[in-house]
Amino acid sequence: MCKLIKSKVLVLKILLDVFEKALVFLFLDDAEFKKMLLKADVDCFTIRVLKTDFLVNVTIKRDGLFVDKSKSKCELEIIFKDLCTAFKTFSGLISLEEAFAQKGVILKGSIAKALTVTRAIKRLQTLVFPDIWIKRVLKNFKGTSMPEKLVFYKFYYYYLKNLGR
């Protein structure tokens, strides 16, 4: 899967862009996702790949979620040990839980808070990947409901509309 890592790097950049925009969109549009992230009780978390520039820095406030590229220190850092594991996770080939289980992730900060963020990211994966794709990797996945499917379409409309911004 990761033999052609150079071409995958470009794909990973796109996937990270989708991920960032999905975080912002779902925080506004999906009450459950917002509730899950707020439950984590973190002001800021970072997801990055070790020793690379691949970074998602997320600041959470009650009224909104902000993504910035500055490398300011967050109380919770989820760091992929290698590009390959990050690629598999962001492309929905494995869940973040599996990445943890495969010891592909370094975690700085509270494990309990990271678990709550992980659950929220799982919710994100449920909503931004088609059922047929994500059902292979998520535990007990029973398919998305009609309102959730609507979120899926609304997100991609929003994403394409904001492409390049």
Binding site: E97, V105, S110, A112, A114
Partner: protein
């Protein structure tokens, strides 16, 4: 499939294994170790047994920190750290149960990272150096802590348990001497034995289970089924004690690499709310947790039955059910012989605790590695089944 498996600990086990300890320290050029233990170990005379092993050697075994509580805390680790630094120690020996060994792991982290801010080191794979020599001498057979890279320390300030996970926490040497476990009371023998059994089974059925961990977990399950009852009935049965001491690190190595699951999530949560020992909490949730896994782990349970009742023939479904029956039978016998509680109500559970237990269970790291998604509904069912 992807497997990362690490077993860096030198395991020395057998009758009089403790007498090898001076050599192991010499080999690692240790001059002045700190010995961590608790008051129970001192009063049971176990510390004296260990000290005997040093009688004729030139080691300075004078630095002893023995104030570790049953549930170790950030404060005790900091006290041990201050002693380690002021006495210029160069190695750590942890003599005791899981709490003492976890203190040793946390102390090693602080020493290697050169900080007394333990909380800043919490998380997974967040430590960059291995640090000083660390020897674990377990006096119970069950936690597997002597071979794992996980430590849990209670923080009074936040009133929560802080988890640490890193390969650099795994002890360099584990000395497993059955003589040090013969004085273990029946109830503790039973609780720690059930803890080991849960490590073995949950490692076998988890999402990160693999051929190496399965081999260890399978054999560990067999050793526990064959020896736990004897160890409870006759504490001085050194053969049973030895076999339980073997089963514990085998299950420990399995779960350290393949992790545990929802039984541990609920047990950690109930332990924190009800203030009951970890092994007792595990014994209360084991069967309910395994039943929740039945649909997704039939094949694994059917395989594990070979470790318990190899003469049982039947379909995969029947064999899986039979394995759960075997666990249930073992639990009943263990409870009858040791006085372990048979339900949550016996340990002070009240309906108003349900919400808090569920909340804590859902944020417990162990649930990540379970094939079954731990939802509020699943947690509620497990609590009801364990009343």
């Amino acid at each position: 499939m992807f497997v990362e498996f690490i077993v860096p600990t030198k395991i020395i086990t057998g009758v009089d294994a403790i007498f090898r300890l001076p050599y192991e320290l010499e080999l690692r050029d240790v001059k002045k170790p700190i010995l961590l233990t608790d008051q129970g170990i001192l009063s049971a005379g176990i510390y004296d047994l260990v000290k005997q092993a040093f009688d004729e050697y030139k080691f300075d075994l004078q630095v002893v920190y023995s104030d570790i509580p049953l549930e170790t805390s950030v404060d005790s680790v900091k006290e041990a750290y201050r002693l380690f630094i002021s006495e210029n120690c160069d190695a750590i020996i942890a003599l005791g149960g899981g709490s003492v060994i976890d203190t040793g792991k946390a102390l090693r982290m602080m020493v290697s990272e050169g900080t007394d801010d333990l909380i800043a080191l919490s998380g997974a794979d967040n430590i960059t150096k291995k640090g000083v020599t660390f020897v674990a001498i377990p006096t119970t057979a069950g936690t597997g802590s002597e071979v794992t890279g996980v430590a849990v320390i209670f923080d009074k300030l936040s009133n929560s348990k802080i988890a640490f996970a890193s390969d650099f926490l795994i002890p360099d040497v584990a000395v497993l001497d059955p003589e040090l476990t013969v004085s273990m009371p029946k109830k503790l023998t039973a609780a720690s034995g059930m803890d080991a059994l849960s490590h073995a089974i949950e490692a076998y059925i988890g999402i990160q289970s693999n051929e190496i961990s399965k081999a260890l977990a399978f054999r560990s399950t067999k050793l526990i089924f064959d020896n736990l009852i004897n160890a409870i009935m006759d504490g001085k049965d050194r053969n049973a004690r030895f076999n339980m001491l073997m089963a514990s690190p085998m299950a420990g190595m399995a779960f350290s690499n393949s992790m545990v699951g929802i039984v541990h999530s609920l047990a950690h949560a109930a332990g924190a709310v009800l203030h009951i020992p970890h092994g007792v909490a595990i014994s209360l949730f084991l069967l309910a947790g395994l039943k929740e896994n039945l649909d997704r782990s039939k094949g694994d349970f059917s395989e594990l039955l070979n470790a318990v009742r190899c003469d049982f023939l039947g379909s995969e479904d029947e064999r899986a059910e039979e394995f759960l029956n075997a666990v249930s039978d073992l639990l009943k016998e263990v409870r009858c012989l040791s006085g372990l509680p048979s339900g949550l109500l016996e340990v002070g559970y009240k309906p108003e605790f349900e919400g808090r237990i569920i909340e804590l269970a859902l944020t417990d790291g162990s649930s990540i590695f379970s094939k079954v998604e731990l939802t509020e509904e699943v947690a509620r069912r497990m609590i009801k089944a364990s009343l």
